[in-house]
């Protein structure tokens, strides 16, 4: 049915603690095509991070299964199909900015000259080339997050999982990076799963938006974003854009 993409089948996840059990994700099924750009949208605590971590094989579902191009998530992880951007930058304190970006390349035994070249290219992309020899703590939160994005892109992954990567950024950088992200996506043909709680961001970026609702986290709507590509700044003001935003907002109220 969906041989090259991500197939989430009836997945549930509950967190167990001594006294209680939280059902974070309840019976979610969705299917993401290869090369598709989708968003997981929903309010805080609706299980977006949980779902993304299950796709990345950092968490095992209590029920149901997830397949990546016909493989298990574990196989996909071991064959390094993922690039992941966490909700926190998760940079290593002892590495300078450029060395944080080259970490995945080092692990893949990419030659040093090639690593350096790639790091510079990515630093330029996220607009931080001046900071290459700084340590992470010398950067602001938003800048750190941009480094984390550069690091995820370094491997040119087939699947890019992003957990609210731009939520720490100001509106200006955010919109600029939205456009950059789309350009990268187009160039690399990767599949992107993008977690956000911003409706307009999800509309601007995605082919489809999966709307999740909380307590317990479940899929409440799937919205096709019919805006043409390439997406431009001007589209943010188009009636169609607003129509889609309204449609998504309504789907929240309906749930």
């Amino acid at each position: 049915m969906n041989p090259a993409g991500i197939e989430v089948k009836n997945v549930s996840m509950s967190y167990q603690s001594e006294s209680s059990e939280v059902l974070a994700v309840k019976e979610v099924s969705l299917s993401i095509g290869k090369g598709e750009f989708v968003s997981l949208l929903g309010p805080s605590g609706c299980g977006k991070t949980t779902l993304l971590r299950m796709m990345a094989d950092l968490l095992t579902p209590t029920n149901g299964s997830i397949e990546i191009a016909g493989q298990s998530t574990r196989q996909a992880r071991l064959s390094q199909k993922y690039g992941i951007v966490f909700q926190n930058p998760t940079l290593y304190d002892w590495r300078k900015v450029k060395d944080n970006i080259t970490l995945p390349l080092e692990l893949k035994k990419v030659p040093k000259a090639e690593r350096e070249r790639k790091a510079l290219e990515l630093l330029e992309l996220v607009g931080l080339e001046k900071f290459k020899d700084k340590y992470p703590w010398q950067l602001s939160g938003g800048m750190q997050q941009r480094i984390a994005i550069a690091r995820a892109l370094a491997m040119e992954p087939e699947i890019l999982l992003m957990d609210e990567p731009f939520s720490a950024l100001d509106e200006f950088s955010r919109e600029r990076l939205n456009e950059e992200l789309l350009a990268i996506w187009k160039k690399t043909n990767s599949t992107v799963v993008f977690v956000t709680h911003s409706i307009s961001e999800s509309v601007f970026l995605s082919d489809r938006v999966f709307v999740l609702s909380p307590h317990p986290g479940r899929l409440s709507a799937v919205v096709d974003i019919t805006l043409p590509r390439p997406r431009t700044k001007e589209m943010r003001n188009s009636p169609e854009f607003y129509k889609l935003i309204t449609q998504i907002r309504d789907s929240f109220e309906g749930s």
Binding site: A56, L58, R77, L78, S79, Q80, Y82, I84, F86, N88, T90, Y92, D93, W94, L103, P104, E106, L107, K134, Y135, W137, Q138, M155
Partner: protein, 266 residues
């Protein structure tokens, strides 16, 4: 420059007041209360300093012997401690196996152990090195283990997401993450290594600060200033060792929060 002055001034003021109080107490015991052996208890500082300079060369030579052996012991202890820490961090099974022996080792009194070690190796240098290592591996090991364990779950997940192997996880994440712990352990261990070396020297050796310390203790009150000089010299050795470790820490781990410059970028 100004900042250094601001920081140094209070400590200097403290040191000065302490020295003044010491001198006053010394004078009081000797001249007013006329205590027996007053100078053995609280000697005049200027007399001690005078002796320190008069016998400076001897003290330096003997101190060097102590310092080298303590340093070698510290290195050996660090190596053993670090290896044990890595071993214990590998699995809970490994920790449960090794940890009790690490604790047990610290139950054996060094005073009893030193003659045994000497009996085995028959070499005063090696005995000093081994005892210094024996005392220092413990704080190094425990602090480094704690450092390795303090890794954030997120950093580990990042490694898992790259499907990194165990070797890479240690080399690129756990060991750098354990370095601050290692240095904390080393800073405790550095002065201990000197103490350990001196202890062995006092039990029989030909060279070292501990040897002259013991000799002057035997000779009694007439050598009291010399005895105190050796005490001061060994304290200086301990401090020197500590500062050396601190310097290395700054060079190796400039990224630690304690070394960060205040006031943001640039």
């Amino acid at each position: 420059m100004k900042r250094i002055k601001d920081r140094l001034l209070p400590s200097l003021a403290w040191l000065f007041s302490l020295l003044v109080i010491w001198q006053l107490v010394s004078w009081y015991l000797l001249e007013v209360k006329e205590t027996t052996l007053a100078q053995s208890k609280v000697p005049y500082i200027h007399e001690v300093v005078h002796t320190l300079f008069t016998y400076g060369l001897t003290l330096l030579q003997e101190g060097w012997s102590t310092f080298i052996n303590a340093g070698a012991g510290l290195l050996l202890g660090t190596a053993v401690g670090a290896i044990l820490a890595i071993l214990m961090s590998l699995s809970t099974w490994a920790e449960k196996t090794v940890f009790p022996y690490v604790i047990l080792s610290q139950m054996i009194p060094v005073l009893g152990l030193a003659p045994i070690i000497y009996g085995i190796v028959h070499d005063e240098n090696w005995s000093r090195v081994i005892i210094a290592a024996y005392i220092t591996f413990f704080p190094v090991s425990l602090n480094m283990l704690k450092g390795i364990r303090s890794v954030s779950p997120g950093s580990l997940e990042l490694m898992h997401s790259y499907a990194a192997n165990r070797w890479s996880i240690y080399w690129k994440l756990l060991l750098p993450n354990g370095l601050p712990g290692l240095f904390n352990g080393l800073k405790i261990a550095a002065p201990l290594a000197v103490t350990a070396a001196i202890l062995v020297e006092m039990m029989g050796a030909r060279h070292g600060i501990g040897v002259i310390m013991l000799r002057n203790l035997y000779y009694g009150p007439s050598n009291t200033y010399m005895f105190w000089s050796t005490v001061v010299a060994s304290a200086l050795l301990g401090i020197a060792n500590y500062l050396l470790v601190q310097l290395i820490e700054r060079i190796v781990t400039p990224w630690q929060p304690a070394f960060r410059t205040k006031g943001g970028d640039n």
